[in-house]
């Protein structure tokens, strides 16, 4: 017997765009139509599309696999097929062992019930027995940090409290295979750290974890392997850092759509590179270079190029423009093109970051062209510094 606890073989899933027939009036004609013309599962009918196409992968026991990709890539569809919520149109999946899914925290909550009652309700929905829940009740309440409010109906909870309770229940289920869909981003910063630690301890306990997230840092931190999915197909698989790198490079390429069409001057290209060429992963203190290629159609006025860095929550924490660096805006002759390179020392805490670029007219204080998501990158570090800046802390005792 193979040691794969989870296998997908050539799995495809077809969906329909638009409305399904929802009432008998629409249904009867469509029934006649399908009876006359037998639809074959390998072909697409009108208004149909492939949410997944020939997806195959296998997960060995005790490993953590991350699934990444842009919105609509088919990540959630994979999870739904995995958990049995949906059946694939073609292909097979096999699951060995008990499986529990955290697709949405608190999906089974009832607003009128108290926190404690919802722990029992949600726990059984997620597959625990009453006895198991009783044994873990104190631990769950403790982890959520809501012991004061546990006998209050959850309809009076804030959304953060709601999510915290949901996550606390879910991470105490202890299945053989745990499927997690973007639930680590709930609660405040302190709770997120706690959740991350909990996930790590679940992994150390030997569970197999499938992890879907847009948090690329969490993926590289938690997962050994990753699958990069786009438009229903697997784009790359392998070690998680390499796959994340491939994804970031592709995503930033896709973001390079011309922004301003009839502008007087435009940003043609933004490239983020390290010392050895284009990369998506840095270590603290490494050099990074941002090349911004601009060209002018008609403009002969002074221009400035600005770059900004944002953290995972899109908060800008760094901004600089060429006018501030050179004290003087520069000018382009019509038709001329120019590359400005910003050299940066990446003294950053581990995390994922986004790079924005903009072309401005300092004299008028207007933005001529703008690339909101020109590139994104991840910073890795051995020291788990939190926040954005890396001040290289050292500890001495006396």
């Amino acid at each position: 017997m193979s040691d794969f606890v989870l296998e997908f073989e050539q799995v495809s899933k077809k969906f329909r765009r638009g409305q399904l027939h929802d009432s008998l009036r629409d249904f009867l004609p469509s029934l006649v139509r399908t009876a006359l013309r037998r639809a074959r599962s390998a072909e697409l009918g009108e208004r149909e599309f492939w949410a997944l196409r020939d997806v195959s992968f296998a997960v060995p026991r005790g490993t953590a696999v991350g699934i990444i990709g842009p919105n609509g890539a088919g990540k959630s569809t994979i999870l739904k097929i995995l958990t049995g919520i949906m059946n694939p149109t073609s292909g097979t999946k096999s699951v060995r062992g008990s499986l529990s899914a955290l697709i949405e925290v608190g999906a089974g909550f009832h607003p009128d019930l108290t926190g404690r009652e919802n722990v029992f309700l949600n726990g059984t929905i997620l597959g625990m027995s009453r006895r198991q829940i009783k044994a873990k009740l104190d631990e769950i309440i403790e982890f959520s940090g809501l012991s004061e409010f546990i006998d209050t109906p959850v309809k009076r909870y804030s959304s953060g409290m709601y999510a915290r309770l949901g996550f606390s229940i879910a991470c105490h289920v202890e299945p053989d295979i745990l499927v997690v869909d973007e639930v680590l981003s709930v609660g405040d910063w302190a709770f997120q750290n706690k959740s991350m630690e909990k996930m790590k301890s679940i992994l150390r306990g030997g569970a197999t974890v499938i992890f879907v997230s847009h948090n690329l840092k969490a993926i590289t931190e938690l997962c050994d392997r990753a699958v990069y999915l786009d438009k229903g197909r697997i784009q790359s698989t392998g070690r998680s850092s390499e796959v994340v790198d491939a994804y970031i490079r592709r995503a930033s390429e896709a973001a390079r759509v011309p922004h301003a069409r009839d502008a007087e001057a435009v940003i043609d290209r933004v490239v983020l590179r390290g010392v050895d060429g284009e990369v998506g992963v840095f270590r603290p203190g490494e050099k990074g270079f941002v090349d911004v290629v601009i060209s002018s159609a008609t403009c002969d006025k002074p221009l400035a190029v600005a770059i900004a860095l944002r953290d995972e929550n899109y908060n800008m924490f760094f901004y600089i423009d060429s006018a501030r660096l050179e004290a003087e805006p520069f000018q382009l002759r019509p038709g001329e093109s120019k590359t400005l390179t910003f050299e940066l020392d990446m003294h950053l805490a581990p995390g994922s970051y986004f790079l924005n670029a903009a072309l401005t007219r300092p004299d008028l204080d207007v933005t001529v062209d703008h690339r909101p998501m020109a590139a994104s990158f991840v910073v890795h570090s051995d020291v788990d510094v939190r926040g954005v800046a890396n001040l290289y802390p050292r500890l001495t005792r006396s």
Partner: protein
Amino acid sequence: MLGAVRSVIRHKDLLLMLTWRDIHIKYKQSIMGFLWALFMPMIIVAAGIMIKLAFSYISAQPLAKQGIITISVKSLPWAFFVSSVRFSSNSLVANPNLVTKIYFPRIIFPVSAVIAQLFDFVIASVVLVVILAFLGVGASTQLLWVPLLVGILIVLVLGLGIFLSAANLFFRDVKYLVEVILTFAIFFTPVFYEAEMFGRRADLLLLNPIAPILEGLRECVVLHRAPDPGWIGYSGVLAVVVLVLAIRSFVRLEPRFAESI
């Protein structure tokens, strides 16, 4: 089919939990609380008494105590039938979050809906037993029929609930259809009247599978005589067939629930 039954047994904790939730939610934040379990049967009994009174005026015969007792005995199972078919046919549509986000055997939804209504039925029955004892309706060995008759009713309700919950998920028309039928079904079912009033055409009324159950309850509880085994057998077989077909079609449609809801 057997797989579905086995998976429900495996998830019995969940079944009880969802049932408990439905019962709990109903009585939470309500002033009347458990009196609600008596409310619907009481209204039906009151309506029945009105109709009996009208009959007695026309026929110039006084309203007998037995008539009122009969209506009470029939109203309770009828109230259970109506509310559990209504509640269970909405059970999947009312939980879209659970249907699309978490996997467990979906059949638990309609089954727990029926059990939650059964709880009300039991409360109302206890009250009815006290009233009947007070009114001097005696006991006899014929009462041994009652568990069988109620059992058939539960099987029938489960079958209808399971089938209608799936049908309602695909076509919302089903909900309105069920509403209309449930509202007027009381006129086609011997609740306020007896099937035997129709003489030779009584058999036609008994084709409705609930009719032999209600008539059977009247006979064994009020009249202390054995119900017609032929008609009880008919209802029983029909109920089992409905349940088997319902579970089969439910299990076959289940993989499409998440994308069709």
